[in-house]
Symmetry: C2
């Protein structure tokens, strides 16, 4: 268990009368007989979640996008957001750029900013997002079933590649580097409502800490395990060539979705996704083995290390 | 206009389809035909909103109480909260104390913690509170009417006195000092639903930045002005004796309510408040004069200075 999850379980998780409390991508409260409001709050702190050099426009986009991702992970539609910004000095050009990025993202994903505050402090953005979810279509982490297919939206590992490019740890082609840095700075969460309207999936989570760490949350909540096949992972040509699957398995900040769905829905998911031009890839199976297994492109089991992004690790 | 309000208006306020967006103590979204969900997010940063020496237990209480106050200011009932905590190091005793204070406050005001996150960063607490409000009883800043009575709940100026005691700027009797510091560390917001169920009030705001600054928000939103009488302000014996009304007029952190109500409701408010043992004091009138007037205990107009607590003032 991550230190963050341990802290939350020890100090903050209590029984609640809400339909869903702490422990998923969003909490659920009642809206009407057919729908919930899903609520999630995510904070980005300078030096922990973003480099001080991050352009304000990109930060405005990303701070909201990571929250949009939480609502998509519940199978919902983002609607409103409260935006709390702490900054050290009263920097109008920075705020103007930040708000432009924020509003660009809000427009793209249909979110309206309805509240929040600005305070003085070390740069930090805390956004609460509110989305609507149909009760029948809600996707919880605990919903995975034995033998489910495991699916991943979009491409993964790119944001972590982008971070290593910025840190000059690796060199990619100009185009590949540009794309990776764009994925790091301006994540594009994937809306799967056009598929989930047919109730094709059982569970979902968004990938903020890497496939291993985030899939583990689904598996722990569902009391199951999984096999993941690296050969099937939707990763860049460079990751495939270098067999650098760790970027996908342990790299954070992708904000794509991991979903599970019954095998019988596999063809329908593929067909609908093609129709909707939605990239979604079958990467493994839910099992009832003792532990998660990851297989390299030759079919050999890989060692799983516990190195998903962690706060509080000194 | 405060710098904070200016920033919010310039960069973040947009037209919204929500029943109430940026610019009040809480935003409103639809719950059902009779009720709204009211949502508010408030952030407390170390050195800006609390001293580094603040006991974690008190901080846990206060971080939630200031949000409870926002829901009471809308005439609503707090229900749920999302709690986001940034701390620099993984300090379990601190977190334990913080969560104890948070849960004590949650229990007292009937709030359930349903989500949030913990991150690494300079100490900061950002809480989103969700409350239910009956549509008929909602109190907006813009609801004040000409000639309304102005009411204040509880006692004001105590938290600012407490801060000056801690800073050794003033010396009070031991009992008075203890009470003032308690008010600073553990504010007790006042629930006026037992009166507002009869729809007695027109508007409300909570006092976080002092009477002048917060009443100004009501007056600006309602396009009106006011007369305030210091002799009527619910302040401590020390403030009265020293004529130190600035603590009440400009001191922050009281988390009591300013309300306005038609004169015809005055006796009913007094009678009901006495029955419910709820301290509420009539302190002035809403006017349509050019500017707000504050009168000293001798009836002389006082100079109003623009020194409510401000972020970003360097």
């Amino acid at each position: 268990m991550s230190v963050e999850a341990d802290i939350i379980n020890r100090f903050f998780k209590k029984k609640t009368s809400a339909p869903l409390g702490i422990g998923d991508d969003a909490a659920l409260i009642n809206k009407n007989t057919k729908e919930y409001w899903a609520l999630s709050q995510d904070t980005l702190n300078v030096n922990t979640h973003f480099l001080p050099s991050t352009p304000a426009l990109d930060l405005g986009w990303k701070a909201l996008a990571v929250n949009v991702s939480d609502i998509y992970a519940m199978g919902g539609q983002p609607k409103y957001a409260l935006v709390s910004i702490a900054i050290n000095k009263h920097n109008m050009p920075w705020l103007e750029d930040f708000s432009r990025g924020l509003h660009q993202c809000a427009k793209k994903y249909g979110v309206e900013i309805i509240g929040g505050d600005t305070t003085r402090g070390q740069t930090s953005i805390s956004i609460t997002i509110i989305g609507s979810v149909e009760k029948k279509k809600v996707l919880k982490r605990s919903g995975a079933k034995l033998h489910d297919d495991i699916w991943i939206t979009g491409q993964i590992g790119l944001a972590a590649l982008g971070l290593d490019c910025l840190k000059k740890k690796i060199t990619l082609s100009e185009a590949a580097e540009k794309l990776a840095i764009k994925c790091l700075y301006k994540p594009s969460p994937t809306d799967i409502q056009s598929l989930q309207k047919y109730q094709l999936f059982h569970s979902a989570i968004d990938i903020s800490d890497g496939v291993i760490a985030d899939l583990s949350h689904i598996l722990t909540s569902s009391n199951l395990s999984a096999n993941i096949f690296c050969a099937q992972l939707p990763v860049s040509a460079w990751i495939k060539k270098e067999k650098a699957f760790d970027y996908a398995l342990y790299g954070g900040d992708d904000y794509q979705l991991i979903l599970t769905a019954p095998v019988k829905n596999r063809n329908r998911i593929k067909k609908l996704a093609a129709q909707k031009r939605l990239k979604i890839t079958h990467v493994g199976q839910v099992t009832n083995e003792k532990k998660m297994m990851v297989f390299d492109p030759n079919g050999k089991p890989m060692k799983i290390v516990n190195k998903g992004f962690k706060h509080f690790v000194k």
